[in-house]
Every structure is written in structure tokens, then in C-alpha cells.
């Protein structure tokens, strides 16, 4: 029982320690890592279709035909 308790404690102890120190490392050494936030450029999505509890088959075919493939690149590129 003590061995199992030790194994669990080692895992949790070093896991929590790794999480704490990696968070400190991000704050300390990864400076200005956030890219521009979406809230600066968009007000959100106007949902046209919203469906819950889809079956796997419905999920696979969801949205087919909703997006057409035509390109809108200007001429003369």
C-alpha cells in the first residue's frame, strides 16, 4: 500500500510542481506571446444554422453546400 501511495505521490508531486514552474516560466520568459485578439476585429458570428445532438452521419454531412468554392481574387494578380 505504501508503494502505491508513493507512486501516486511522486506522480502528483512532480506533476503539480512541473505545472507550477512551467506557468512561472511562461510568465517570466515568453514575453508578449499573445497575438491580436479576435474581439478587436470582429463582433462575432451571425449563426445561420445551429444544431445540437447530431448523429455521426448528420455530423459528417453537416454544412455540405453551405460554402461554395468560388474564389474572389481580383484579376491581374
Amino acid at each position: 500500500m505504501d508503494i502505491l501511495a508513493l507512486i501516486i505521490s511522486l506522480g502528483l508531486g512532480f506533476g503539480v510542481s512541473l505545472l507550477i514552474f512551467s506557468s512561472l516560466l511562461i510568465r517570466s520568459n515568453d514575453i508578449g506571446n499573445a497575438a491580436g485578439s479576435k474581439s478587436q476585429y470582429t463582433f462575432g458570428i451571425d449563426y445561420e444554422i445551429r444544431r445540437n445532438n447530431l448523429s455521426r452521419g448528420e455530423a459528417d454531412s453537416f454544412g455540405s453546400g453551405y460554402i461554395s468554392e468560388e474564389e474572389n481574387l481580383p484579376t491581374g494578380v
Binding site: L12, G15, I31, N33, I45, N53, L54, L73
Partner: protein, 406 residues
């Protein structure tokens, strides 16, 4: 001459602190825009010639190199294919390649530098001072180069159409099952800045955001005096793929936030289309300070937003200190957890499996899964820091800032 003081012909530079052109000889100040278009027109025809054409140099390093004659001293200024302003190696004056701005892709707007070089350095030193795992040698770094560079940006508006299926776990009694949620809709994006330089990675430039684009002003060459700058060299195709990448990410994030009925949600399938409003594209130059320093023989480039002072970089870490503290804390926490679990485990599990409860085994499984999640989160965070450091030490960003004359 456009970059000369009208009073004493001294060199003029744009002062971000005063938002004026300052003469470094007599101290005279001029508002940007004081020089008329006719004075600039005289310079628009000055040709830039290929270095290999002039000297017959065929080596690869001379392929994207051009010669521009300095208007102040007549010295040869060597520039790359997209540089618009640089410093003359001989007289130190700013050389603005007017012909490139006039004839190729003249920017419509510019966001003048607000931060001086000293303020940018101060912002970096302040950030480094706060970093617990930043080695002392880096905290007291001496910059190799400090360069103010106007980066070409395209400010785009686009309409994004997306269709996304999200899968997630839904609990029903003691069981969990996978459910699917479909979302389709339209998202309008306005004022998204995308960098127009192929030499600078999109990842580096996007981290410089946000820029306050309300301060954009009509482009004027005088803002370039004292700074380096490049013109855009991306195609509409590059722009579309950069806009699509950002729009896809934003759309997916918003859809994931919209699904509240399940846990452990992730994108199952997705379709996107981004249409850029090409009629209302804005071409602008946005300011950034590039500060390079060398640590253990490796070049590091710190970028500072020239308007807001946001510092962007990954800093090499003191690995010895990190692992020492992490191990010490790990051992301490192990001791604490051992005291708890030595007393708790006999209550949860009977190892003869006579009285062992399902709940006890479930608790063990949850602890195992939790431990795995802790390690995976910790490792992911360390990898994120390392990827930022890689970006800071990337050769392309060093070349973008460093391979300039003067």
C-alpha cells in the same frame, strides 16, 4: 533636399517624442508635411540599379542587392529588393528611395513611431528585470543593434463563412457519450493588420498587435527619416491565405465558445471560406523597434511595438535554476501527498479485492488521468516557451533587422 534642414542643411530625423522633424545640427523643428510634393518629385526618378548588373557579381548573396546613390554624400548605398529607407554607411544620413515609393506600391497610410529608441530599450529592460528565470547576463544585456523599422502592413476587411462540427462528451448517468454540434454562419472582420513582408514571419508580426489604427495618418516620406523601412512584397494570394488562417482560428474559437452542452469539446470537422474586400484594402507602414543581442554565440532579436511599447520575445532561460527549484518543490509536494495517500488509500481500496469498491478504483483512475494531464500541460507550456525562443533566434527575423546598411 527633402532630408536636409532648410536653415542649415543639417540632417533631419523624425523625433517620435515630439512627433516633429528635428535638425541634428541647429535643433530646428519642422512639421512632417512641410516639404512639398514638387521637392519630392525631383527625387522620384532616381534609379536603383542591381549590384550584379553594375559590377557583374554573380554570387547568390548579390542577387537581391541594389545600389542607390546617397543624395547627401554621393556614396553607394546597398539595399535589398524591398527596402525604402536606410542609413548611408558613409555619412550616416537617412536615404529614402523615393522612386520605390512613388512608382511601385506607395503606402496610403503610416503610423508614426511614438516610442524612442531609449524608451524601447527601457521597456525591454523592464520586462527582463521581471523575469525570474532570465539569466543575469541577459538582464544586463548590451544591444548589438537597435533599429526602428516601418513594417509594411495590409489592413483588410473580410467576410468569413464557416461551417463547423464540434464533438464533445455529454454525461448521462454514470456513462459519457460523444455528441456532435453543428454551427454555420458568417463573421465579418474589420481592420485586420497583416504584414506585407515575406522576410518577416506572420507569427512574429501578429504578436506585435494590437496597434491602435485610429492614429493612422496619410503616408508621408518625412516620417521615414531616421528609420528603416520596407515596401510590401506579398501577393494577393499570400494575403488571402494569411487572412484565411486568422479568420479560421477566430471562427473556430467563437464556435467552441458557443457550445455549452458538452465538455472536452474539440473541432470534429470544419469548412471555411474567407472573402477579402479588395476594394477597401489599406496599405500602411506600422512601426517596430528591432533590438538584437548575442547570448552564448546566438543572435536574439527582441521586437517592440513602436506605438504601444509591447515587447515581444522568447528569452533563453536559466535551466539549472528551473530544474533545481522544480525538483525541490516536487520532492516537497511528494512528501505531502505521501502523508495524505498513505492514510487515504486503505480507505479507498482493499488489495485483496474483497471489499474493493468501484468508486475507489474510479478515484485511482481519476488520479492517474489527472497526473497525466498535469505532465502534459506542463510539458506543453515549456514547449511553448521554447517555440517563442526559437522565433526570437530565428535567422529570418535576424536578417530582416540586421541585414541592412548603416
Amino acid at each position: 533636399m527633402i532630408n536636409r534642414c532648410r536653415n542649415c542643411t543639417g540632417q533631419l530625423v523624425f523625433d517620435p517624442g515630439k512627433q516633429m522633424l528635428i535638425c541634428d545640427n541647429c535643433g530646428g523643428t519642422f512639421a512632417p508635411g512641410d516639404y512639398g510634393v514638387t521637392e519630392k518629385e525631383l527625387l522620384w526618378d532616381t534609379k536603383v540599379e542591381s549590384l550584379s548588373d553594375i559590377y557583374g557579381l554573380e554570387a547568390p548573396e548579390y542577387i537581391d542587392r541594389y545600389v542607390y546613390i546617397c543624395k547627401s554624400c554621393g556614396g553607394e548605398v546597398i539595399i535589398n529588393g524591398t527596402e525604402v529607407s536606410t542609413r548611408c554607411l558613409y555619412c550616416g544620413n537617412t536615404a529614402v528611395v523615393f522612386s520605390r515609393i512613388a512608382k511601385q506600391k506607395r503606402p496610403g497610410y503610416i503610423l508614426p513611431f511614438k516610442l524612442t529608441a531609449d524608451e524601447a530599450l527601457g521597456a525591454v529592460r523592464e520586462q527582463f528585470g521581471k523575469g525570474f528565470f532570465i539569466p543575469k547576463s541577459i538582464r544586463n544585456f548590451k544591444p548589438d543593434e537597435v533599429r526602428g523599422i516601418y513594417i509594411p502592413y495590409w489592413i483588410v476587411n473580410c467576410r468569413h463563412k464557416g461551417s463547423v462540427v464540434v464533438s464533445g462528451s455529454v454525461r448521462s448517468g454514470r456513462r459519457t457519450r460523444t455528441e456532435y454540434f453543428g454551427r454555420a454562419g458568417v463573421m465579418n472582420i474589420t481592420g485586420l493588420p497583416l504584414d506585407g513582408s515575406r522576410m518577416l514571419s506572420d507569427e512574429s508580426s501578429s504578436r506585435l498587435e494590437p496597434y491602435n489604427l485610429y492614429d493612422l495618418t496619410s503616408f508621408n516620406e518625412e516620417y521615414l527619416l531616421g528609420f528603416y523601412s520596407n515596401i510590401s512584397d506579398v501577393t494577393y494570394g499570400n494575403l488571402k491565405s494569411a487572412a484565411s488562417k486568422r479568420a479560421d482560428e477566430y471562427f473556430d474559437e467563437l464556435v467552441l465558445r458557443n457550445v455549452h452542452e458538452a465538455s472536452s469539446i474539440r473541432i470534429h470537422s470544419e469548412q471555411h471560406r474567407t472573402d477579402i474586400d479588395y476594394k477597401h484594402l489599406k496599405y500602411a507602414m506600422l512601426p517596430a523597434w528591432f533590438i538584437t543581442y548575442t547570448h552564448k554565440g546566438t543572435h536574439n532579436t527582441v521586437v517592440v511595438n513602436g506605438q504601444t511599447g509591447k515587447v515581444v520575445c522568447g528569452v533563453p532561460w536559466d535551466k539549472r535554476l528551473f530544474f533545481l527549484l522544480m525538483t525541490a518543490a516536487g520532492l516537497l509536494l511528494t512528501g505531502l501527498f505521501f502523508l495524505i495517500f498513505r492514510n487515504l488509500l486503505p480507505l479507498l481500496i482493499d488489495f485483496n479485492f474483497e471489499k474493493s469498491t468501484v468508486a475507489g478504483i474510479e478515484i485511482l483512475a481519476v488520479i492517474a488521468a489527472g497526473t497525466a494531464a498535469l505532465f502534459s500541460c506542463g510539458i506543453a507550456r515549456i514547449r511553448k516557451v521554447m517555440s517563442s525562443i526559437d522565433l526570437t533566434q530565428d535567422v529570418s527575423i535576424f536578417n530582416f533587422a540586421g541585414r541592412r546598411q548603416g
